[in-house]
């Protein structure tokens, strides 16, 4: 088996040619409002994500965090506001188009393809990067196989990186929750995103696993320069990992800044933390 050379591989794959410097503006969310019938999930929120940073979104349950991610990757269409990603403003797009632009994500309620193995799940992340058409697929031997092997190599690197070799062939439906989350991260990484959205990646994990997960996140961020936006309720993780934090409270933004500022912000403590962390 090839020796994993994650760095080279994943780095090469990142759609890095967006011409944005590290620290430049990658994503800008302007005055977004979203409501469902009577429920106002998001009201008039703006924030930005800089290239290369880890950005956390926190807030009490039902604050609109997941909805925010859904807006960013095109699953929800906000009633108002606009989103600028890599300098391109967009009104509304289908999720698979957002993926095409380099946005990948994981889900709060694990959304894996239950009937497929870990390997296949991660391989689906590469669907849009594979190009051989149906004709070649049917013949298989030849170009399709070569393409498959090429992408398989990448995926195996991700599997090695996430340390899930042992469950490579297991159908993911029966995996324990924590491993499912890891597979999901693998699938998102396989898309070689420039912006990775993580929705509670550590929920349901014990400390050891959270540490592992943190390690993966940091590594992805530092070594491959992938920008990460993450939602998490474990304050230890959030404070340690993130560069900047935005705090939502029932659809409104109540704070935005570096971890220390947020940690000591009275509004945040009242609305969310309970006690200073």
């Amino acid at each position: 088996m090839n020796q994993p050379s994650i760095q080279a591989d994943i780095q090469a794959g990142v759609r890095a040619d967006d011409g944005i410097e590290k620290g430049g503006l990658l994503l800008q969310v302007d005055n977004i409002s979203l409501s469902f019938g009577g429920v106002k999930a998001i009201s008039n929120i703006s924030f930005d994500v800089k290239k290369g940073e880890i950005r956390a979104i926190i807030g009490p349950n039902g604050a609109g965090k997941t909805s925010m991610l859904n807006v960013i990757n095109g699953f929800y269409h906000p009633q108002e506001g606009k989103i600028t990603f890599r300098g391109k403003e967009r009104i509304s797009m289908r999720p698979h188009e957002a993926v095409g632009q380099g946005i990948a994500r994981t889900f709060q309620n694990v959304a894996l393809f239950k009937g497929m193995s870990t390997l296949d799940n991660i391989m689906t992340g590469r669907s849009e990067l594979m190009k051989k058409n149906m004709f070649w697929q049917m013949l298989w031997h030849g170009p399709a196989l070569s393409e498959e092997v090429e992408h398989r190599t990448r995926v195996e690197d991700i599997i090695d990186f996430l340390e899930i070799q042992h469950i490579r062939r297991t159908p993911v439906g029966n995996l324990p929750y924590g491993l499912q989350k890891r597979v999901e991260l693998g699938r998102a990484l396989a898309m070689e995103p420039s912006l990775l959205l993580l929705d509670e990646p550590m929920a349901g994990m014990n400390l050891e696993e959270k540490e592992d997960m943190s390690r993966f996140i940091i590594e992805v961020n530092q070594q491959f320069g992938t920008t990460i936006a993450l939602i998490e309720h474990d304050m230890g993780v959030v404070m340690d990992l993130s560069d900047r934090i935005v705090v939502l409270d029932y659809g409104k933004k109540i704070a935005d800044g570096a971890p220390e500022e947020v940690r000591n912000n009275q509004d945040v403590i009242d609305a969310y933390l309970g006690v200073p962390h």
Binding site: H96, A111, S127, M138
Partner: protein, 358 residues
């Protein structure tokens, strides 16, 4: 340890992608193919050809088509019979308009017609899901059968409204029509079924197959990882209807010899659905196992009492037969909802770790 797989290491990904990475599977397949290509044709009687071998292959092919749509792409369809009809009528028109057309080609082309219609009826699948879609496919089922009945051009204005297969030669050998020999027909069918099966295996294990399975398992998530749902579903409808159409053409041209519109009605669709589900959704092997169970078993049940010289009232026998099939369907589902293919997989697992229980 009959099924010992330890020690069979793969040194590169390419060999991991061999059709049968495990040696024992390969051996088993070789045995099956040997039987299919050599032993059966030598031993089979006319009756066995006509009621067991040929229909099992054709039904398995139809089920394979359905399985791609339902088992792989997760779109339940109840209209398989009508799409077989499209293939059959298309083939009939082709061979009557171009009498010199090679039958193999004609059958290949007729699949295209049913694929086209399959695509049209697949369009709503982007919005309509689950059982709603299943019932919607019934619209195709009933509309098409009605059309077969009413559009007399399709059956060349026959008084009876039925189509009769003409005698067709290929390379000097009669392959269809009443005088064709069963063995020739069997080989013809076996050849097409083998080729399509291999192509289907390839397509289901690659990128497109994964896209389908993703759509099946969770279509929202599939879209959120970048899969274009409409395209994935339409490809599934197209490929599936193509195969189903081909099987329909084989059904009429290489087996039945004649067809009336309501042959393609709902009972046919259901029988194929049985095969696909009992065999195992999302499995290629399952279609063949299912076809053996659903098509061959009743035939065998029917001749058992006779073979033992027991006189059973034929209607009673039929009642019992129907009950047995019904009970069997339920029993298989209870024992293993994933069908015969999974039962085989479990047996294989057990053989691998045998003699240890876990």
């Amino acid at each position: 340890m009959l099924y010992r797989i330890t020690g069979q290491f793969k040194t590169n990904y390419r060999s991991d992608y061999a059709l049968f990475p495990v040696r024992q599977d390969m051996f088993l397949l070789a045995v099956i193919l040997f039987f299919a290509w050599v032993v059966f044709p030598l031993m089979a009687s006319e009756f066995a050809f006509q009621t067991l071998l040929i229909p099992v292959l054709i039904y398995a092919l139809a089920a394979l088509g359905l399985n791609i749509l339902t088992g792989y792409a997760g779109q339940l369809s109840l209209g398989t019979g009508a799409f077989m009809g499209v293939g059959a009528y298309a083939c009939y028109k082709l061979v009557t308009i171009f009498p010199d057309l090679n039958l193999m080609l004609a059958i290949g082309f007729s699949g295209l017609f049913s694929a086209a219609i399959g695509l049209a009826f697949g369009l709503p699948s982007l919005r309509i899901k689950g059982f709603y879609l299943a019932i919607a496919t019934l619209a195709a089922q009933f509309f098409l059968v009605w059309l077969f009945e009413k559009w007399s051009w399709l059956y060349n204005y026959n008084a009876s409204g039925a189509i009769q297969v003409p005698t067709i030669d290929m390379f000097g050998i009669t392959v269809s029509g009443p005088t064709a020999s069963s063995m020739v027909q069997y080989y013809f069918v076996l050849f097409i079924v083998s080729v399509i099966t291999i192509l289907a295996i390839n397509i289901t294990r690659g990128r497109i197959g994964r896209m389908w399975k993703a759509v099946r398992d969770m279509d929202i998530a599939a879209e959120l990882v970048g899969i274009n749902l409409l395209r994935a579903k339409l490809i599934a409808f197209g490929v599936s209807s193509y195969i189903v159409g081909v099987s329909g053409a084989l059904f009429v041209f290489l087996w039945r010899g004649a067809a009336e519109p309501n042959l393609f009605d709902i009972p046919l669709s259901f029988r194929i659905l049985f095969i696909a589900i009992i065999g195992g959704l999302g499995s290629i092997l399952g279609n063949f196992l299912g076809a053996i169970l659903i098509i061959a078993l009743p035939v065998i049940l029917n001749i058992i009492p006779e073979a033992f010289g027991v006189e059973v009232d034929s209607s009673l026998l039929e009642h019992i037969n129907i009950m047995i099939i019904g009970a069997l369907i339920i029993a298989v589902l209870i024992i293993e909802p994933h069908g015969l293919a999974r039962i085989w997989a479990v047996i294989r697992e057990k053989l691998i770790i045998w003699p240890f229980p876990h």
